[in-house]
Amino acid sequence: MRPKTPFFSISPVLIRENMRRLWAIPVFGFLAYFFSGVFPILMNYNDLSRIWSHILSSLNNTQPFFLMIHALIPTISAAAIFRYLHAAGSASVMHAMPFTRFTLFYSNLASGLIMISLPVLANGAILLAIQKPVEYDADYSYQISGLYPPSTPNIMSTPHIMNWVGMSLVIVLFVYSLCVLAGIITGNTVMHIMTAGFLNFILPALFLLLTLWGDIFLFGFPPAVQVAGISSLTPLIYVPFSNGSPGWLLITIYLIVSALVCLFSAALYAIRPLERAGDMLVFRPVETAVNYLVTFFGMSVTAYYFYAMDGGTEESKSRFYIGAAAGALIFFILSRMLVKKTLRVWNRKAAAGFGVYAIAALLVIAGFSLDLSGYERRVPNPDRVEEVGFSVAGIVSMSEPFAESHSDGNNLLFKDPGNISAFIAFHKRVVDNISSFKHKERDYADLSVNLSYGGYSFPPDRVWSINYPFIREDKNLKQIFESQEFKSLNSLINLETDGFKSVTLHDWNYSVSLTPYQARELFSCVDRDKTLETWEQFTDLTYPLAIIETDYDATKQDDARRSGVSAYFTTAIPLYYENTVKWLRENGYYEIFVKEASDVVSMTALHIVNGAEAESVNVTDPANMQAVLRYGETAPIIAGDYWSVDVRFGKESAYAGSTANDNRDIEIEADYKEYGGANPAASIQPNVIIYCLNENNPALEAILGKAGNAKQ
């Protein structure tokens, strides 16, 4: 007759014994949290504003020491508590005692929970006891330290401390549950700790690998830097990533996953073969899983190494396959040696196992390389798309989201049905030309095009590398760019600000600051010119007259959440911005930035072919010089064939403009003080500009066709 075993039971005696033996772990945890978090606060208690960033990062769990402790204490606790499972003698003695397996498991689980919770709770209690209002430096917080400002000015309030306690408990609980599972499936302590680390990072690592595969094989697959998606797979990464606020949904998921992992561990404990104590892994299926997982990781990394070493192009894929084959075999044998604890692992059974893996790997590789899922060619149905996010970055940029409400952080958001249809038509055109993008005929400069579809969960975002001529010639993008919707989105009116902290006009030689009043006038002109700008003008690479660099208060006063946070944007002033150029002329700035042949000391044009200098021309004719200054471009279109023109301007003229400006800067500085802006004093940059001349550039024809140039 077999007695009924209750699924859940706890022995206080065992818990007490664990705490008596292993008290040093929570004490160590307490001291680690205390000295890395609380102690610096106590040391600066008279003036906590000096360490506001430490307090903020600690309570947001972005502090590296806290993260290390969050990972370390659960791992040590689980390793110490379940150590008895990893030796035949201890496993026998513990299981010969009058406890059921569930009692042993849950009592030890509870002991660990106490051990990992006590240090957090004790430090939380101390923080609550010593709390006092601490304000943060919003500007520094957002711009320099990367710390996202909290919702209230006081960063050491009770909710902040309680949030730290809660989030820390969520993290340590999640990590601990996986460490416990690792202890149950492994047969020795070293393997336990290794597996604990492996389990805690396996999901982000697998996700990363899959995006890596997609990145290599699927044109347009979002690159493997989707940090938010990957990091959300474990709170150990995501809580700091989200500045201590992962949201209730994720917190609930983390807690449910932790609970499920514990229940799964309990079920495994009940059937754990104790006779395998001392082995690497105690369950045969886990051995197989680890064997295959390690092989997959090793295969992917080796394949990627081979691929990257060969330049990471479409043609490098043959190296990828070689790397995959070599990596699979090597890591299959290595991982088998590890789990079997012997060097003699290659036998008929292993060969069969490798054969099974090889078939599965071939299917995966074929699935990606032949795009069996049809990912690359899938174009969404326009009727189901509610919104399109779009940006272009590279030698032409169309991504400045002036207003958060009109962007998803990176892309401008379009809702006009006409524009949505145009985006889908553009998408289709890209799909029809995928082969030409993969097998580049010419070494064109690529633009990174980011396209996402709101309200349409599949397919996900596309990030394409598309050559400049293709973009420039695209009628759909022209339609979108010249649409009322884009002009409205692109307007500086969208800037959500109470004021500018500094506005600077500059080129590569000169820099001048504008008063806030001047800045508003200038922006009004720029806005009008942006409205009139055509797609052809926008995608033209001709050097702009100057750049406007603006540092501004990013929020309006009614948004207390980010009060005082700085933001920054730049926008170019091309010569065809008639209203803006007129304003510059009227205010005396045009003469500072306009380039004249008479300012040039020397001008040397180099023909760059495949990265090497093929020929050189000294440009001496003033008309030719003027042509270069007028038509010179900012970047090469074909990386392997363009002209680079090194232009040195006269020192005297460079300083002349700046000196004239210096007197004005004193007044400007005073004007900005009311906005709390930085010193906007002018600075002198090196007086050299390098222009590019691409094929068909009028200046190139002038240089090569006319006399007065000295060919070398």
Partner: protein, 301 residues
């Protein structure tokens, strides 16, 4: 009573125990013998409720042992590979055992610690193997177990302590009808203690008998006759001779028959010498398996 019926256990495809049956009477001492790898420890771990059987039943007083806390609370197991909580002294371990085992006898514990002269406050992990074994005995005996399961109990103990240990165990058997099951290689030491014994080989129970019964069934005799036997004459017909060895005119026989039957059968041929020699347990097992040239000898020694 401890009873195992048709126990089977495989480890990674290796059949460690095969269709094993075993019975230990309440209040008796049972010796389980066999070479290394015979499966003794595996059987003991099943009885202690540590391992789960692939098939078969392991019962104590009719109740399954596995996951049965009431049975395990009356059972003490001392493995060959000892384990104590890290950094624990005997005193600290005793505190834990006292709260886990209802039958803990503090007086017995104090008496035994005095007897074995063990430092109560010293960490057990710092003890020698022999001292650790003594500590394990003290803890196990102090729980006043009804069932004591011992795996190679006397390894590492000096002769004096061995005697002390066995005395305490036998006291428990005599006073409380404690049932003892012990595995061992040492037949000579165990034959004076055991009531019954089992011999295992390659996961199977080769023989399981009551010791007195076994000894009364097998005789070792030395015989000599005045004249040589006539051709075709067999002076030992009617006897089950397991082994025969002749040195000159003297025959040394191992016979599986009761003493009376052997004596009357041989005396009928008028021997000039008939001596019954003492027979060790070791010899009984050897000849039971077919003599010293037989592979069974390797099973034991």
């Amino acid at each position: 009573m401890i009873e195992i019926r048709n126990l089977n256990k495989k480890f990674d495809g290796f059949q460690a125990v095969s269709d094993l049956n075993l019975r230990v009477k309440t209040g008796s001492v049972y010796g389980l013998f066999g070479t290394n790898g015979a499966g003794k420890t595996t059987v003991l771990k099943h009885i202690a409720g540590i391992l789960r059987a692939d098939s078969g039943a392991i019962e104590i007083n009719g109740e399954s042992v596995y996951e049965n806390c009431s049975i395990k609370g009356r059972l003490a197991f001392i493995p060959d590979d000892l384990y104590f909580f890290s950094a624990c002294s005997l005193q600290e371990s005793a505190l834990f055992y006292r709260s886990v085992y209802r039958g803990w006898n503090q007086d017995l514990y104090e008496e035994m610690t005095a007897l074995f002269k063990i430092d109560l406050r010293r960490k057990l992990s710092k003890f020698s193997k022999g001292m650790q074994k003594q500590a394990a005995f003290i803890l196990a005996i102090s729980t006043s177990p009804d069932y004591l399961i011992l795996d190679e109990p006397i390894d590492g103990l000096d002769p004096l302590i061995r005697k002390l240990v066995w005395k305490r165990i036998l006291d428990g058997v005599a006073e409380r009808k404690m049932t003892v099951l012990s595995s061992s290689h040492n037949l000579r030491e165990m034959e004076n203690i055991c009531d019954s014994m089992g011999l295992m080989s390659e996961g199977r129970m080769m023989i399981e008998r009551d010791l007195n019964e076994l000894k009364s069934d097998i005789q070792k005799v030395q015989v000599a006759f005045r004249n040589e036997a006539a051709p075709g004459e067999n002076r030992y017909s009617g006897l089950e001779v397991m082994h025969r060895e002749s040195r000159g005119s003297i025959d040394l026989l191992i016979v599986r028959n009761p003493k009376n039957a052997v004596e009357s059968s041989i005396r009928a041929h008028d021997p000039i010498l008939l001596d019954f020699l003492p027979l060790s347990l070791e010899e009984i097992f050897i000849y039971e398996f077919g003599g010293d040239e037989n592979a069974a000898k390797d099973t034991l020694f």
